[in-house]
Symmetry: C2
Subunit: 615 residues, 2 copies
């Protein structure tokens, strides 16, 4: 089965994106327009990104002290992707966008990510940056910065972390002070001088585009000159690598260099196609108007930096989850092809093996099927969840009032899952893809080892696994008296009810019902004493169990769509395969939740009781 | 706690190696001699191997068409290790050995492996090669080949796999034909000409030593010129890179080049310090006496190749498991040090977090403790199991009749576990070590990403995970009417009984008893229909569950030793830490067996039912 068949099944047979065309925003679209965009992305992905993926890994970015060097194939591939119009795909027609639904745009993103996640990251980051500005920027900030990014002329970054600050963002020390008495009268927005160091900045420097638009989180000191504490102390700034002038016709021209300097490239385990940088702001290497400090233009109001960022967080996290998923998918495809091609071993018969028989292809061995089925269940399930969440973003933005509210609440609860679950299980899929290849999978002659290395980042960036667990159990399932969890439970119950009536799904419907009950009971038990330390000590096992229940639900719901298609006599192999992956998930994966929920429900104190001196 | 304290605890407080000194073979040993050998290995490991480990990764071996180039630090480190006498450590005094127990020798091996597994592999392979020859070789084969390896002057390899043959060894096509009419009168053993290709040969070529002794599995064609089928069709040959002459004084001199050629180096994900090669035998690049074919001397009888190899298999698999363990251990140490050093975040209080408070070290967060505890439980448990199995090897070799038989039977059942469990869980430990480091763990500025890459090999080589599962469920638990499993159950029952009487261990004793019952019941249920396809379709989940039960047993037994030490007032922190790791294993890990055993016991057909066309 091709990836595209699965995408079509998910978009059309499952989440029904075509129905969105009845809404004003998507009125000019149809299945044909969606198809043609996906086709176009597929072409660029196959022609430009896929052939560049291994090169981008082997020829790691280098820095000569002045400029960053990337393989020309990476530069060409990023440019081709930027020129495809994908950055603006979901934006309004009037700013050059296509007004695509988020679900279709995410399917496009996935298409690029499967060909080369590291190369596609430049454009993904830029889309997030520009989308944020389109919501929170002033008209001129949108015109000059966001729209130039949307067109693919400039690329963008998100500068949050610092060398000493990753998960604990409120401890950043990058400082922004008003730049002169007239700082409030700059047409680009209140003008500040920034000083500080930003770490782990992907796409933080390169020569792919003439300019880079950094979005930088920093603190404005109080009257006493000290930096305020807490999450509401952070503000957001546009800091372009090259300053920008508008000429008399309001055309955009590059001015002088801003005081942003590449301090060094990080040398990574994987994901090497994306430069990852330590950036120094305001070290006076490029003084602006004779003074140190990088020029930054305030976005939104002072102290609203994190709020602006959070606006993009759900989509960014869906994006990370989909990226992890597509690495998993690419590995699945590679190992499936290998297993179909490689002869080795013989069937186990009642009398053992007969060495005189011809060898069989390894796909015929039960254990190899197990490894392929597990990958299929992980990657197709994760892809479905990602597109489902993207569909919720569409509902949030263009749905009727109640639907939009519900979509938002559901999205809050699902976001930690859509980010974390693929990061963990599609990494496991990549490990299985290596295993299917045997020794060959351990060499760089096959692509799977790179996928596995590239994927290891996804449990770390955009909120670590531990942070996602705390977000889910500490915050998301408790928001508005648990509204998100209740909504999720209602949707699960709806799926269960529909599945009960269908051939061969009743058993799985019961299993899912029990799993949901156990999850709810464990959630209550975790918080029954009301002591955060007790509840949250097992937030990660909770995240894992929650993820498995969500994926079981997704799979059962997919199974109902497959049963409908089979009843209609459509493509038996395709739908039987998905039904079988569902069975695998229910029989081999869902039972794992008991071990995780056991420690959650008992508020097991083992981890927090551990003493430093006992290690 | 240092690694050495744990090794001492395991060797002396737990498996009681000192008691071995009452046996004739070890009569000249004492705790002091064991200590001094371990000290000496530690010094070489720290001074030579540890500083070379990253260099060996970054400066991958290269081949200029004539010679293989390795970093000088690798060459020096291998030579220093070879000169330490470790290769012959367990051998007789009269061949330059130390007559060390296998358990102590394995502890030495572990010491080197923790400093650099890839560099220590050269010596490990040589030890296996020479040990095999010391058992199966002729007196002259031992003197010329084995003893020269034992002294560290030459290194050795094992050449089994071929490009088209990994798990299915009996399909090798390397061919060995008698070399001339006088082939049986060669002093080094029956002389053959070998032609074929051997793949994945670690240490297959290098310039570290003047010669390399390959042990090569090949088939002798039948009278019809065709290669026989099956596992009993393979024979074993000594194929030195350089041919050997004995001069009049019987001194060993290098003769001409044998017809063994390096076809290429494999470029790997990790484990880069060990060259891994494709070797061509008999391609006529170096004709010997004007004819093609690599000269090889038969070891043992024709058709006994696999039997000879199997003799070393248990030890080789303990070695792979210990290697995986030590990578896990090294990552544990690195992430523990990082977690103790890195400030970030604040404690969760009843009112959330107070941003005005100072940050805490990340080791104080429950989720970081969880990641460190999991690593501790995995790596210390795996190390204990490895040394326990090594102690069984000692029992097998030097114990009284009944003890030796029981040790052999137990070892058969434990070998698939001691190889597979660390390969899977100490790899997971390495992933957790990366996670503790956050973004820094993803860079090559910290050692943990290399450990993770290096460790990924261990589920593949020396019998894949899938093969270990088939070996365990298909063969080992059924041998001699399940004698090995019964013995294991008896030892587990003994531990349970002792633990019941001890403070705080009764609960865990009960859990282990139930787990053992479930494992036994699942074993029976798997085979209840007597159909191998049904039983073996879930051999890997069985392997995983079996492994977790074994590790729970190991941990409970360790806990009894800790309780004794605590009762005697000894080192509270050290023993409390181990008790707490045991608790972690019982509460967070052991419950996972239910999901695995569920599919085993029901002979779940999902995987074998999957169709190629459904993927």
């Amino acid at each position: 089965m091709t990836f595209r068949s699965t995408v079509d099944f998910l978009l059309h047979d499952w989440i029904g994106v075509e129905s969105l065309t009845s809404r004003a925003r998507f009125a000019e679209h149809s299945r044909e327009t969606f198809d043609s965009v996906l086709d176009a992305c597929h072409r660029v992905a196959q022609e430009k990104l896929a052939p560049s993926n291994r090169i981008a890994d082997l020829e790691e970015p280098t820095f000569d002290g002045e400029k960053v060097h990337l393989p020309q194939s990476t530069i060409d591939a990023v440019r081709a992707q930027a020129e495809s119009g994908i950055i603006a795909a979901a934006q309004d027609y009037e700013v050059g966008g296509m007004q695509l639904p988020c679900a279709v745009q995410m399917a496009c993103t996935a298409t690029f990510a499967k060909a080369s996640l590291p190369i596609s990251a430049y454009v993904g980051l830029t889309r997030g940056n520009a989308s944020l500005l389109m919501v929170h920027g002033t008209p001129l900030q949108k015109k000059v910065f966001a729209e130039t990014e949307l067109s693919g002329r400039w690329l963008g970054t998100m500068c949050l972390s610092e060398p000493q600050v990753g998960s604990s963002l409120s401890d950043i020390t990058t400082r922004a002070v008003p730049d002169g008495d007239d700082f409030e009268s700059d047409p680009f927005g209140p003008r500040y001088r920034l000083k500080g160091n930003k770490m782990w900045i992907s796409a933080g420097d390169h020569e792919i585009t003439e300019n880079i638009v950094h979005l930088v989180l920093a603190k404005i000191p109080g009257p006493d000159g000290r930096l305020p504490a807490g999450t509401r102390a952070m503000s957001l700034f546009i800091v372009p690598k090259w300053l920008v002038d508008l000429d008399d016709t309001q055309a955009i021209r590059l001015g002088g260099r801003n005081d942003v300097v590449l301090a060094g490239l990080n040398h990574k385990l994987g994901y090497r196609g994306t430069t990852n940088t330590l950036l120094n702001f305001g070290e006076n290497r490029f003084p602006v108007r004779g003074a140190p400090g990088a020029i930054g233009y305030l976005v939104g109001k002072p102290g609203e930096g994190l709020r602006c960022m959070f606006h993009m967080m759900n989509e960014a996290r869906i994006g990370v989850g989909l990226g992890a998923t597509m690495l998993g998918y690419a590995g699945y495809e590679a190992s499936l092809a290998y297993a179909r091609d490689r002869p080795q071993g013989r069937p186990v018969g009642p009398a053992g093996k007969d060495p005189m028989q011809a060898q069989i292809r390894i796909i015929e061995h039960a254990d190899v099927k197990r490894m392929l089925l597990a990958q299929k269940a992980y990657v197709e399930g994760a892809l479905a969840l990602g597109l489902y969440c993207a569909r919720l973003v569409d509902e949030q933005r263009t749905g009727a009032a109640l639907g939009a509210t519900e979509a938002s609440q559901l999205l809050e609860v699902l976001t930690p899952i859509v980010k974390s679950w693929p990061s963990e299980y599609c990494l496991e899929a990549n490990s299985l893809a290596i295993q299917v290849h045997g020794g060959y999978g351990y060499t760089r002659d096959f692509p799977v080892e790179q996928y596995w290395r590239d994927n290891r980042l996804n449990m770390i960036h955009e909120g670590t696994h531990g942070i996602q667990g705390l977000d889910l159990l500490g915050r998301k399932v408790r928001l508005e008296d648990g509204a998100g969890l209740k909504l999720l439970a209602a949707r699960v119950a709806d799926t269960i009810q529909r599945a009960r009536a269908l051939d061969g799904l009743a058993e799985h419907a019961s299993s899912l019902g029990e799993a949901l009950e156990r999850l709810r009971a464990a959630t209550d038990a975790a918080w029954s004493t009301g002591v955060p330390e007790e509840a949250l000590a097992n937030a990660t096992p909770y995240l894992q169990a929650f993820g498995h229940v969500v994926l079981a639900w997704v799979w059962l719901d997919l199974a109902t769509a497959c049963q409908r298609a089979l009843a209609a006599g459509r493509d038996a192999d395709f739908h039987q395969g998905k039904l079988h992956a569902m069975r695998y998930f229910f029989r081999y994966e869902l039972p794992k939740i008991d071990a995780w929920l056991g420690v959650v429900a008992s508020r097991d104190p083992t981890c927090r009781d551990m003493q430093d001196t006992w290690f």
